[in-house]
Amino acid sequence: MATTETHVPEQQRRWHNIRKLLERSGPFCHPDFEPSPDILDFLMESCKILVVGAGGLGCELLKDLALMGFKKNHIVDMDTIELSNLNRQFLFRKSDIGSSKAKCAVDFVNKRVPGCEAVAHHCAIQDLDEGFYRQFHIIVCGLDSIVARRWLNGMLMNLLQYNDDRSLDQSSVIPLVDGGTEGFKGNARVILPGLSACIECTLDLYPPQKTFPLCTIANTPRLPEHCIEYVKVIQWPKENPWGSSTPLDGDDPQHVGWVFEKAQERAMKHGITSVTYRLTQGVLKNIIPAVASTNAAIAATCATEVFKLASSCCTNMNNYMVLNMADGVYTYTFNAERKPDCVACSNTTRVLDVEPGAILMDIYEKLKEDTGFLMKNPGITTVINGRNKTLYMPSIKSIEERTRDNLKKKITDLGLYNGGEILVADITTPNTISIKLKFIENTDVEMSR
């Protein structure tokens, strides 16, 4: 074998490193693993990977996958390049500002890595349909939005097929490898839809969003953030500095400058210090700190898992890794567990407990606040006597206005009953969720407040 080294074609020599993992067996391989040169052929010629997001993680992932032998990578991102991306999104340059992230990333990697045939999709993930997602072997996701992650998770659940005996058709499972970072911290996980914990099973792992109570902002501000939030929530809509039709744009330096100045005035009036331009922008845009190194480490972890999934040359992580690089470098890998009644992956109908005297608003609020749902703007419909009836639809203005009054009506007056079902649509999922209502008699009297 050694003697032929110099005669191996250049193409083969280039992949010498990963070929050792793919063409040799080892004591820790996946039980199904059969070393063979065919595996590299599969990675290069057949295996299709979708990278979701072409930001800090996406750029890294596209590079990592290209150098792990994957040629048929697709990447989707609706965003364009901004100056503040350049400290970590290493496939972009100043001259690329304003261009499509997905296209720029693909152009760079295809040029650098010969044979790489990555394809860009400059659009929202919601613009792509089931047929599109179904073509991939593995999807790897580097998003900063929880809503988008949940939507994608829902899409993969949608693609699952069940056999006649209600068992899962394993061939319909598209593994999802998901990474996320925030400052010096990050996480990476492997999700086998329908088989292991999904995004919705573990919603409680995301920290709750930090909000300031309106009365504090308005009456007893203490922090510079309170002053900025006041200008954003109360002063801007009242004064409309750029006319009533101009909403506050955190990317417009003139808008940020205006808020900064007004917030400073308010802070000064109350003896509060440290309102800075940087803080103003941070609060307005809800900026999450980000640095190249953390992104590199998390993306690489995801790429390693994609490689393992595609080649079976090693068993996958089980199934959730957290990384903290603030104090030394620390990782912890644990088995996130499935939620038996998960709204997305349990293949069972969810049950919602309501009081018989409840109004529709109670259901609406529950869908937003219950940790099993955490929806954003749920639209609620039901079927009465075989006909669809829209109960409340917040996302479309004209229907919202027409159905707004229903929120105050008793659910029994709207035709809902114990054991009846509502159908719920929300931006957190591509699917309509059916939820069964269960009437409960509330015995304990609500205390205080």
């Binding site: 280039r14 972890t301 104090d327």
Partner: protein, 535 residues
């Protein structure tokens, strides 16, 4: 409508580009990074992945030392080489493509072998903030680490083989003022209030306030008042035990206003006071870790060569002994709490002013020392920062890689202890060392040509190492098999993970913020497991 023209400061291009990281290490951290010069020895995939995440955030300069010629395998695993790089010098090619990431970074390539530089021009390494090396031979590792230890330049030694990787940080001494702890303890001094705080706390009479004001008293005042009341019937002691703290909670409950039905009215500030009982009543003290720092010989026996950190520690010690009455300077920050604006701002200013007074005293002491020693000036803002973080100062005293390689007694027994457990990550460490030994004996990586035949040879290397540290051989050969399967392959995603980590640690060292790994990190991509060891 005329659009208002704000007079606010437009952000500079640079501030916009680095915005997301400035929120982590601040403008002063960025300045430190921009004054840094990183040396990379060997532009392997791991090497360039490290440089990538140092160049992007804007380090001052990088120098690549590499005398290798680009091979096909290099191009296959290294993103910062292209097809046209083949047969050219690897360092120059990698430098060209890495520097292109950020025009603000200076770059240099040196094509001489490291051993040659160590012989001919050892002073070459003096100018670097950190030297990072990948893919070095056993012999060069020892020569280089020995030299860098002597000239006191931080060194990070990195490896990436198959699914395994490691890095080892060699530092003589590394002082961190801003360690950015996840959970910072508050410094409220309720047990030893300074005069202005004492006056303020005692200016309240909780029972005489109207209901609106009652709901706006900061919990600090409520807690202080409760303790004062408790102390009267407890011979003026400070509540320490769980039982005593529960008594404090009971007093806070008594402070609550009642509604017409005699039920306590819900007030957020009182709930906050109840929650704070367990943490905020810990008496103010000088942490042992800080005491050790202040009384270490470096802080006591100052010389003209003493670093600013030790001068600051020395000044801080005299403060603690005199004006501080055994306590550190007041930190000067107030956690957010329910309160009226006036109460909160007043309280905030009381802490802030005392912190300014304390740090001013420390600053005067620093100036005295600086004048006496005729050493460089230390600015007031540096002293302020130091006092603000005095509770969380952190010092790493490192050990040399040569000591680790020669298995001195401490290292041997340390490794043996983990191997007895048996700790699989320490097994990986032994295998990485054995693979290095194999390479120096056989001029190739174990399994580079053919895995089976190298297993027994690698086993011999492992046995040698285990004998040196007086350990019994591994019960199973599976990890040796696996290392031979890797055949010295460098897997891109494994190098990319380590690259991110090593770049991160180099930035921590250059900015002197956040605690770096002390001192050895092992990564196993196969099991997604990591460990930190301190040799």
């Amino acid at each position: 409508m005329a659009s208002p023209s704000p007079k606010s400061p437009e952000q500079s291009e640079k501030n916009k580009q680095y915005d997301r990281q400035l929120r982590l290490w601040g403008d002063h951290g960025q300045t430190a990074l921009e004054n840094g010069h990183i040396c990379l020895i060997n532009a392997t995939a791991l090497g360039t992945e490290i440089l990538k995440s140092i160049v992007l955030p804007g380090v001052g300069a990088v120098t690549i030392v590499d005398d290798n010629i680009v091979s096909d395998e290099d191009i296959g695993s290294n993103f910062f080489l292209e097809c046209s790089s083949k047969n050219l010098n690897r360092g120059s090619e990698a430098l060209r493509l890495v520097i292109e990431l950020n025009p603000a970074v200076q770059g240099y390539a040196v094509q001489e072998p490291t051993d040659q530089i160590l012989l001919d021009n050892p002073d070459f390494f003096k100018k670097f903030s950190v030297v990072i090396a990948t893919s070095l031979s056993e012999k060069t590792i020892q020569n280089l680490s020995n030299h860098l230890w002597e000239i006191n330049v931080p060194f990070i030694l990195c490896r990436s083989v198959g699914f395994l990787g490691s890095f080892r940080i060699q530092l003589k001494e590394h002082a961190i003022v801003e360690s950015h702890p996840d959970n910072e303890q508050h410094d409220l001094r309720l047990d030893v209030p300074f005069q202005t705080l004492f006056d303020y706390l005692n200016s309240f009479d909780i029972d005489s306030l109207d209901l609106k004001d009652h709901g706006h008293i900061p919990w600090i005042v409520i807690l202080y008042k409760a303790v004062q009341k408790w102390k009267i019937s407890n011979s003026n002691r400070w509540p320490m035990s769980r039982k005593e703290k529960n008594e404090i909670k009971a007093i806070i409950d008594q402070f609550k206003r009642l509604d017409d039905n005699g039920m306590p009215i819900y007030e957020e500030n009182f709930e906050e006071a109840l929650r704070a009982v367990n943490t905020a009543l810990i008496p103010t003290f000088l942490p042992v870790k800080i005491q050790e720092l202040l009384y270490s010989s470096s802080a006591i026996n100052l010389t003209k060569e003493s670093s600013p950190f030790w001068i600051l520690c020395s000044a801080l010690r005299t403060f603690v002994e005199a004006e501080g009455k055994g306590k550190l300077p007041v930190r000067g920050t107030l956690p957010d709490m329910t309160a009226s604006t006036d109460h909160y701002v007043a309280l905030q200013n009381i802490y802030r002013n005392q912190a300014a007074i304390d740090s001013e005293i420390v600053y005067r002491k620093v100036q005295e020392i600086v004048t006496q020693l005729h050493c460089d000036h230390i600015s007031e803002s540096e002293v302020k920062l130091f006092c603000r973080h005095a509770h969380d100062l952190h010092l790493i005293k490192g050990s040399s890689i040569v000591g680790e390689y020669q298995f001195n007694n401490t290292v041997s027994s340390y490794i043996a202890r983990f191997l007895e457990e048996p700790d699989v990550m320490m097994v990986h460490y032994i295998l990485l060392r054995a693979a290095e030994m194999f390479r120096s004996e056989h001029c190739r990586a174990p399994g580079e040509w053919e895995p089976e035949s190298d297993i027994s040879k690698l086993k011999t290397c492992v046995s040698k190492l285990l004998t040196d540290i007086s350990c019994t051989p591994f019960p199973k050969d599976d990890h040796i098999h696996e290392m031979c399967r890797y055949g010295g392959a460098e897997i891109h995603s494994v190098s990319a993970f380590l690259g991110g980590c090593v770049a991160h640690e180099a930035i921590k060292i250059v900015t002197k913020q956040y605690k770096p790994v002390n001192n050895t990190f092992i990564y196993d991509g196969a099991s997604t497991n990591t460990a930190t060891f301190t040799f």
